[in-house]
C-alpha cells in the first residue's frame, strides 16, 4: 500500500512546479529585484540640504519671534481685558438700575415672582383673609401698596405657621 502511494506521488510530480507557478514566481522575483534596485538607488541619493544662504534669514526671523512676548501672555492679556470690560459693564449697569429705582421712589429689591392665578385661587380658598390683620403697607420695604397676590402669600404663610 505504501509503495503504491509513493508511486502515485511520483507520477503526479508534485515536486515539480507547474509552468504557471514558475512564471508567477519569476515575475515576483523580478519585481522584487527591480524594486530593490529603486530602493538602492534612492539610498545612494540624498535629499536636498538647506542652502547655506537660508541660515541667516531663518535664524534672524526665529530670533525675532523668540524675543517677542509669549503668545500665552497675549492670550492672558486679552482675557483680562475682556473680563475687565464685562465687569465694568455689569457695575455700571447696577449703578444705573439703583439710580433709576431711587428716581422712581422704589427699592432696588426685586419683587417676588407672580403667583399663577390658579395657585393663588387654591391658596385663597384655604385662607380666610378676614382672620388675619394685614397692615402690609411698607412691610416689603416698599412704599408700594401690596397686591392681592402679596396678601394671599402673606396670609398663606401665617396660616401654615398657625396650623403646622
Amino acid at each position: 500500500m505504501t509503495k503504491k502511494i509513493e508511486d502515485m506521488l511520483t507520477e503526479t510530480q508534485l515536486n515539480v512546479p507547474s509552468v504557471d507557478m514558475k512564471k508567477r514566481i519569476l515575475d515576483q522575483a523580478q519585481a522584487a529585484w527591480t524594486e530593490s534596485s529603486v530602493e538602492q538607488q534612492l539610498e545612494r541619493c540624498r535629499l536636498l540640504e538647506a542652502p547655506d544662504s537660508l541660515k541667516a534669514p531663518v535664524l534672524s526671523h526665529a530670533t525675532g519671534a523668540w524675543q517677542r512676548p509669549r503668545p500665552i501672555l497675549k492670550t492672558l492679556r486679552r482675557w483680562a481685558c475682556a473680563t475687565a470690560a464685562v465687569l465694568a459693564f455689569a457695575v455700571l449697569g447696577g449703578i444705573y438700575d439703583t439710580y433709576q429705582s431711587h428716581a422712581e421712589g422704589g427699592s432696588p429689591v426685586a419683587t417676588s415672582e407672580p403667583v399663577p392665578d390658579e395657585e393663588a385661587a387654591a391658596i385663597a380658598s384655604l385662607v380666610d383673609l378676614d382672620d388675619y390683620p394685614f397692615p402690609l403697607r411698607g412691610t416689603l420695604g416698599s412704599e408700594k401698596r401690596p397686591t392681592d397676590q402679596d396678601n394671599v402669600l402673606r396670609a398663606s404663610s401665617y396660616y401654615l405657621a398657625d396650623n403646622y
Partner: protein, 164 residues
C-alpha cells in the same frame, strides 16, 4: 533653551536643520515652498521653546513639528493655488556618481501620494524602522511597510514609463 538664550536656535539649526529641511522638502516637493516652510518652522520653534525644554526625544518632537508645518503648508497651498505646483528635484547625489538617474528618481518620488512618499522618506533618509514610522505617523507597522512597498512599486513603474 533653559537659559532662554536665542543661541539655542542656531544649535538646533546646526544639529537638526538638514534633517528637518530634508523631511519638509520630501513632503512638499518644491524647493521654494520648503524654504518658506522651514522658516515658519523655526519661528514656531522659537515661539514654543518652553515646550521643548526637557523633551527626551527632541528630534522626534521637532520632526513632528516639521511635519505639521509642511502639512499645514500643503493645505494652504491647495486653497490658494488650484493648479498643481511644479514638482522640483528633491534628490541630489555626489557629482562623481554619474550612473544614478537622479532626475527620474526625483520625479517618480514626487509623483507618489503623500503617504507613500513620506514613508519612503522616513525609511530611507531618516533611517527609521517601520515600527518607529508607524508610531510617529499613528499607523500600524504593517501599514507603513505596505505604503513603502507600494510606493517603491509605483516608482518602478513610473521610472519604466519614463525610460521607455
Amino acid at each position: 533653551m533653559r537659559a532662554d538664550n536665542p543661541l539655542a536656535l542656531e544649535r538646533i539649526y546646526d544639529v537638526f536643520g538638514s534633517q528637518l529641511y530634508g523631511y519638509q522638502i520630501s513632503l512638499l516637493c518644491c524647493k521654494a515652498d520648503a524654504e518658506d516652510c522651514f522658516q515658519n518652522l523655526f519661528i514656531r520653534i522659537a515661539e514654543k521653546r518652553r515646550l521643548l525644554i526637557g523633551k527626551e526625544q527632541l528630534k522626534a518632537y521637532l520632526m513632528t513639528m516639521a511635519r505639521n508645518e509642511a502639512l499645514e503648508f500643503i493645505r494652504r497651498r491647495k486653497k490658494t493655488t488650484p493648479t498643481l505646483v511644479d514638482q522640483e528635484a528633491v534628490l541630489t547625489t555626489d557629482e562623481t556618481d554619474h550612473f544614478l538617474p537622479v532626475e527620474e528618481l526625483s520625479s517618480a518620488l514626487a509623483a507618489l501620494p503623500l503617504e507613500q512618499r513620506e514613508v519612503i522618506s522616513l525609511k530611507i533618509y531618516q533611517e527609521l524602522t517601520f515600527a518607529e514610522i508607524g508610531q510617529r505617523l499613528g499607523i500600524s507597522p504593517n501599514t507603513a511597510a505596505s505604503r513603502y512597498r507600494y510606493g517603491l512599486k509605483k516608482m518602478k513603474e513610473l521610472m519604466q514609463e519614463v525610460i521607455s
